[in-house]
Subunit: 395 residues, 2 copies
């Protein structure tokens, strides 16, 4: 019996919670095998909506919506973490497979438990303390238990840079994020890295070459990323080991994106993880033997994992909504950039833009990484997403 045959020739369908760009690219990867997908998203005009066999408008965080969507599907996966784990557990009891497992999702949804997991299992991460509220954290600073500067992270609901802030001085304490949170020792960062790994239910694991992430400090989003990261080979090797060990410790089925900080003193520290395809893996579509999306499918279906080797160095830039605009998007500079060598344009088709919103990305391939970086910089300067004038351009 051929597993892939079963996925294609039976009524098996893949359900995806979320229909954003990650869901869309997962659907496109599944389409190469003709695995049919269903998606759940609150936005009927979301990027994946018109590409799936069945699209359901609903809230992936709402128990009833997720149960109604998932029932009858063979396998359910996610493109966003903020989903109802209650619903996923209920569906598991009714015989639906869920990957990544709800237990892993619950752990990752709570940054406090996530940090405790790292400590208990000996994974390197910045030292931290948990607090039930901003007030309690403020008191700990006042008592000298927490020292400035530090990083505050809310325990749940953070996403895409939201829910995280650096607290530098006493005056910032008034702006602490409310709710259960944690403080982390501030780390002097030499580089931010991301390592994608995949693990299948059969225990097979594979790691991608580390990615070097350059952050836009204002939007708190990745400005560009380069693969392979320009770091010492032994650092790269160690980063891949940490990520592989973490995937094994979590016993995850599917992709795990592990963001790491390389401190100026040479330490590698786990910063955040995402149990799904990740922004830092977009480049794999064109640059790797197996894209992160295909790899996720291989992992969750228990198929043999594919090579994560690079075909060519690559740099990815997000295409973000420009500051000062909100409305129906108008793209500038795309056609100019697609004429540049090795530039691959991806547009997500979102119907509305706002400052910092991810509207697309460009991957630049070149035989030499430096050439790709130079072209990527030019792409970033050239492409702009504003609002269409008829909308009124100021937000």
């Amino acid at each position: 019996m051929d597993q892939l045959d079963q996925l294609v020739t039976t009524s098996a369908r893949l359900g995806i919670l979320g229909g954003g760009q990650l869901g869309k690219m997962l659907v496109l990867a599944a389409s190469h095998w003709h695995v049919r997908c269903h998606a759940l998203d609150p936005d009927p005009a979301c990027p994946a909506a018109h590409l799936v066999e069945r699209f359901v408008v609903g809230n992936y965080g709402a128990t009833d919506d997720v149960i109604a969507f998932g029932e009858g599907l063979e396998l359910l996966t996610i493109e966003i973490e903020q989903v109802s784990c209650d619903a996923l557990e209920a569906l598991e009891r009714r015989g639906v497979r869920v990957c990544p497992q709800p237990s892993v999702l619950r752990l990752i949804q709570d940054k406090g438990r996530q940090k405790e997991f790292y400590s208990h299992h000996g994974f390197p991460t910045a030292s931290f303390s948990l607090f039930p509220s901003a007030q309690a954290l403020r008191a700990a600073v006042a008592s000298g238990e927490v020292l400035l500067p530090f990083v505050q992270k809310v325990r749940s609901g953070g996403y895409d840079g939201r829910g995280v802030q650096v607290v530098k001085q006493a005056e910032d304490l008034g702006d602490l994020l409310e709710g259960p949170c944690l403080s982390e020792t501030f780390v002097d960062v030499a580089a931010e890295l991301a390592v994608l790994v995949a693990r299948s239910g059969r225990g097979e694991v594979v790691s991608y070459p580390p990615v070097e992430m350059a952050f836009d400090p204002k939007a708190n989003l990745v400005e560009w990323l380069a693969c392979p990261a320009r770091i010492e080979p032994q650092i790269a090797e160690r980063a891949r080991e940490i990520a592989l060990d973490l995937a094994a410790a979590l016993q995850i089925e599917g992709l795990l994106a592990v963001e790491l900080l390389l401190s100026t003193s040479g330490e590698l520290l786990i910063n955040e993880v995402s149990p799904r395809p990740h922004n830092s893996g977009h480049h794999t579509i064109e640059s790797c033997f197996t894209s992160q999306y295909e790899q996720h499918l291989r992992a969750i279906y228990g198929l043999p994992l594919g090579s994560a080797d690079l075909k060519l160095p690559a740099v990815m830039v997000n295409i973000l909504g420009a500051d000062g605009y909100e409305g129906h998007p108008q793209y500038q500079g795309l056609t100019e950039c697609m004429a540049l060598p090795g530039v691959k344009i991806h547009l997500y088709g979102k119907s509305r833009m706002r400052p910092g919103r991810k509207m697309g990305h460009a991957t630049v391939l070149a035989h030499e990484l430096d050439d790709a970086i130079a072209t990527a910089r030019r792409v970033r300067e050239t492409i702009k997403v504003i609002a269409r004038p008829e909308d009124g351009s100021e937000s």
Copy 2:
């Protein structure tokens, strides 16, 4: 004004005549830019049906169906040549752009006119004679005007190896194909090559590295193809020049796949052309900077053409229905093959298989072409498509 912006943010839609695997892969390429597609195909379960924004069941060869489908679209293209040119011309008069142009399609639909075009424009092709019927050809053989062995091709309607046969001896003359046809001098073939080129309305042209095609003599289909072709560099260069010159002579907008014969005496002769994405270009999805599907979109929309350079050598094998079976497909060996290094599986999702039907393909990437060829041979021996037992397996 950004051209790609116009395609994504306006109501512009791409219409595709045909929803087979070529149409499906074209839709997937368009999806990376979020260009929405509509498709027309007689089979409601065809490969592209569930991936397009609007799918219409109808006959792309029927004038009324094509006009009804195409009206209101901004641009219409094809994934198969056997379409109604009358309808396309009527749509052009109503303001719908059609690429490739109906005039080019008419020429290519008639292998007789195609051959005359080559002679008139000085393109190398096997010498030929035109006949109104099989009977007239038989008379020409009897009179010594046509010598055995020769190749008979019907002037219109041939596809995927149908409508072409080698006539070796007098006894075969009873089996001549009926209808208007041509005879071609039999060529001693050293290699069969395919060169993909693209030309945009702005006159920009680009050529892909030649592909070496190995034919399965029984099914008269490509057995495997390797890129780059293992030929002398000056032969490769000459093949690309011929294909580029032909695209320019035709003034085609879009892709042109040019199949060439390399004779044992070292001559390059144009054999057939297809004005669309082509089986010989499947490998470009993973092996080239710009896939043939993206290149076709760039060309027909007048966008800058992309690099056709190889990232890595590649070999493609078609996944065909096995002899002796007909019915709902059952795939064997897929999962075993996807574990091999560099193997990328594509399944078209066709609901029925029959002997020789193209059900999918596998592309094998490797740093060395010989390694890819070895793996491709193994894939070809391993993957089999039969009919599901419940159907009754014998055709």
